[in-house]
């Protein structure tokens, strides 16, 4: 029964999603091209993989992408 429990509801959002959105909303991403958005996403997951906290990962990813704008 437990295995059929619905995951991904608003109450169960993982920390990396919540922190991603917080960091994301602090910046104006409308000026970014699709390519820059992809770069931002790739950088973000690279930093997560390297062990950074989600908030720091998005922060660092934005810094990298800003160098290419």
């Amino acid at each position: 029964m437990e295995t059929n429990k619905l995951l991904g509801t608003k109450e169960q959002d993982p920390e990396w999603i919540k922190e991603l959105v917080e960091g994301y909303l602090q910046r104006d991403i409308n000026t970014l091209s699709d390519y820059q958005k992809k770069m931002l996403r790739d950088q973000y997951f690279d930093y997560l993989r390297d062990g950074f906290k989600p908030k720091d990962a998005i922060e660092k990813a934005f810094k990298i992408v800003s160098c290419f704008s």
């Binding site: 295995t3 059929n4 429990k5 619905l6 995951l7 991904g8 509801t9 608003k10 169960q12 959002d13 993982p14 990396w16 999603i17 919540k18 991603l20 959105v21 994301y24 909303l25 991403i29 958005k37 931002l40 996403r41 790739d42 997951f45 997560l48 993989r49």
Partner: protein
């Protein structure tokens, strides 16, 4: 006599299998994977997409774990339609797993969700190539799918 007939049949049958197995590559079919726990949505989407375009080959899974299993078996689609709320493994976790594998991270993902809250909207805006709000318009979905597949080089390269 029977044995020799069987022997004669072997070659054409083998050729037939090769043709069937390579069918996707020969016709440049577009492989789409739907990951959603709602069987009604899966069936409607699969039938609609395959009916609208004979070059769509749609595979369906009902949660993220099944999706990853298929990918591990080298069933790599050209595009994934991913629900967020699912049992066993949700869309967020599935997406994170896709990003952690170099072979999977460039597969375009459309999030397909009924969630309308701020976190979900902004997260999918950042993570996904497209964000499809349920209930969706199938014509609009097809246009968006074609646009993305064209940009990633899977349409019109024959």
């Amino acid at each position: 006599m029977v044995s020799s007939q069987k022997m004669q049949l072997k070659k054409p049958l083998k050729l037939f299998h090769v043709l069937v197995n390579n069918n996707c590559e020969v016709r440049k079919m577009k492989k789409i994977m739907i990951v959603d726990d709602d069987q009604n949505i899966i069936q409607t989407l699969k039938q609609s997409l395959e009916y609208m375009d004979a070059d769509y080959k749609v595979t369906c899974t009902s949660n993220g774990m099944q999706c990853l299993e298929l990918l591990k078996n080298n069933e790599i689609p050209d595009l994934i339609l991913l629900d967020i709320m699912m049992p066993k493994m949700d869309g967020w976790e599935t997406f994170k797993n896709l990003q952690e594998n170099p072979l999977w991270k460039n597969i375009p993902v459309f999030f397909l969700t009924a969630r309308t809250d701020r976190v979900a909207k902004n997260a999918v805006d950042f993570l996904a190539v497209e964000y499809i709000q349920k209930p969706y318009d199938i014509e609009d979905l097809k246009i968006r799918i074609n646009k993305v597949l064209k940009n990633t080089g899977n349409i019109g390269k024959e």
